[in-house]
């Protein structure tokens, strides 16, 4: 039996709400029963993942109800906060002011308007080509050549990570492989679920099989990441029916997504370390920063997007 679009949406939404409600309930129950501090930290990590999962359900519902433009607005805000955090971590000079003003107030809106309007030929090159040429010109105009290359590179990297890469997530929702017209938000949901679950499974598995902690993320172990990744891969294969892929294509796509998501986390950890991340005294509100929350999708979104375009959109 072929499900209609509406039926698929409600089925998936209902299933997810049920799943995460169970998870939230379970965590609340565990928190009440546990007095052990180590276990409580672990539950805290798990809890922040479950909150993120609820965000995904919410995103999906919004995308379904209001369309792709609303998704673009939400991800544009995410890019804004990520870039804001990147700038706060990066030493900047007064001479960089104009370049950063352009980055925040021009590049973010333009990139997301291009994504929402589906102008693929332009949004695929806008930041890596156009801005790559324009920003160095703007910054050279200021005549301040002290650490010029480092400053230009940091602005460009900030834009690539927090705007270009992140904007490929809502771009997934605009894709229309043959026979899958109008179901873009479902494909975005599939992508976000895999990234999110691979992270969540890895945290869960690391708590039980934590022999070798990762240097980039002490909350995860090598074994945990492997097991979590395999779990997310199985999940991605089992969910093939909500994608334009066959089951083995879904297996390969989710494997690529899991791998890119993990590598994204590794790269961002290195970036933060080389920026010499300061110990922010911001307390709980920013304990897991915006960039850290987005690390999974920064690298996985362009990979998933381009693999789909290359293999499935003629």
């Amino acid at each position: 039996m072929e499900l209609t679009l509406q039926q698929t949406f409600f089925l998936v939404l209902g299933g997810l709400v049920l799943l995460f409600a169970t998870a939230s309930g379970l965590v609340a129950w565990l928190t009440l029963r546990t007095a052990d501090a180590v276990k409580l930290t672990w539950i805290g990590h798990l809890n922040s993942r479950i909150h993120a999962s609820w965000m995904i359900v919410l995103l999906f519902a919004i995308g379904f109800a209001l369309g792709e433009a609303a998704l673009a607005v939400i991800f544009a805000l995410a890019s804004f906060f990520a870039l804001r955090e990147f700038v706060a971590l990066t030493p900047i000079k007064p001479a960089d002011h104009i370049a950063l003003i352009v980055a925040f107030y021009v590049v973010i809106p333009v990139q997301y308007v291009l994504v929402a309007s589906g102008w693929y030929q332009l949004y695929a090159v806008f930041i890596p080509v156009y801005l790559f040429l324009i920003l160095p010109m703007v910054m050279a105009w200021g005549q301040d050549t002290e650490l010029y290359l480092q400053r230009v590179a940091k602005v460009q990297w900030g834009l690539m990570l927090s705007v270009y890469c992140v904007s490929h997530a809502p771009a997934i929702a605009t894709l229309e492989p043959p026979g899958y017209e109008g179901r873009g938000p479902l494909l975005l949901l599939y992508f976000l679920l895999i990234v999110q679950m691979s992270d969540m499974f890895a945290v869960m598995a690391s708590a039980s099989f934590g022999r070798t902690p990762l240097a980039s993320n002490p909350n995860k172990s090598r074994e945990g990441v492997l097991i979590g990744g395999a779990g997310a891969n199985v999940l991605g294969t089992l969910l093939w029916w909500m994608t334009p892929f066959t089951w083995w294509q879904a297996a390969l796509m989710s494997a690529a997504t899991v791998f890119a998501g993990f590598m994204g986390g590794l790269v961002l950890a290195s970036v933060k370390r080389s920026l010499g991340e300061r110990q922010w005294d911001q307390g709980v509100a920013l304990s897991r920063g915006v960039l850290e929350r987005l690390e999974g999708i920064t690298f996985a979104a362009p990979v998933f997007f381009h693999a789909t375009v290359y293999f499935f959109v003629p």
């Binding site: 804004f80 870039l83 804001r84 955090e85 700038v87 706060a88 900047i92 007064p94 002011h97 950063l100 003003i101 925040f104 107030y105 922010w280 005294d281 911001q282 307390g283 509100a285 920013l286």
Partner: protein, 204 residues
């Protein structure tokens, strides 16, 4: 009856969006006690940022002190200064050299308002503040019951260098220190120096 729920005023909402303005109560807790908050001054946004970092209940009763030549204008700037922040205007370019520039401040304190002042008198777009002027000393002596709270506004000089029209979004914190004690018989110079040191200590 108090209104149970109110949307944030647009100016506070905008400041949070652009520069965060996260309060850190290091040496004291938020309190309705009459206070003078004195802070480093790195950009035009300081006034709004410090005010926005206060809890809502305190904002209504706390008035920033700002230069008349900058804030007393028409348009949005004047609207923010008068209707949102309820700024106490201080006349830097006064016509009558004998008039006391602190008069509007004394008046606001007598009415029970808390004040936000920037004792440098002008913007110093650097991490550490320049020398303080003596206005704080005179107010501290005339109003011995008012708590003097040092405040350090971190990171904002990078967001809006002198001459810039728009701020670069970033994350800044507003750190509130312990109340500055008054010492019997202390000279003006030593008091002002101690006040500056209290702000600098929060920068570390």
């Amino acid at each position: 009856m108090p209104i149970p729920f109110r949307f944030l005023p647009p100016i506070v909402w905008l400041v949070r969006l652009l520069v965060g303005a996260y309060p850190r109560w290091i040496g004291c807790a938020p309190s309705a006690v009459q206070r003078i908050y004195f802070a480093n001054h790195t950009s035009h946004m300081d006034t709004v940022v410090l005010w926005a970092a206060l809890p809502r209940e305190l904002r209504a009763n706390t008035r920033p002190v700002a230069a008349k030549d900058y804030w007393d204008r028409g348009g949005i700037r004047g609207h923010i200064a008068r209707d949102e922040l309820n700024v106490v205007m201080i006349d830097r370019a006064r016509d009558d050299p004998n008039a006391d520039p602190l008069e509007p401040l004394r008046e606001a304190l007598e009415h029970g308002f808390s004040l936000i002042i920037f004792p440098e008198g002008t913007r110093t777009p650097q991490p550490l503040p320049g020398p303080f002027r003596s206005g704080l000393y005179h107010l501290a002596m005339s109003f011995p019951a008012v708590e003097l709270i040092p405040v350090y506004i971190e990171n904002l000089h990078r967001s809006m260098p002198k001459g810039a029209l728009l701020p670069v979004p970033t994350i800044c914190t507003v750190r509130f220190g312990a109340p500055l004690a008054r010492i019997e018989g202390e000279t003006k110079e030593s008091f002002v120096e101690r006040a500056r040191d209290a702000v600098v200590a929060l920068a570390g």
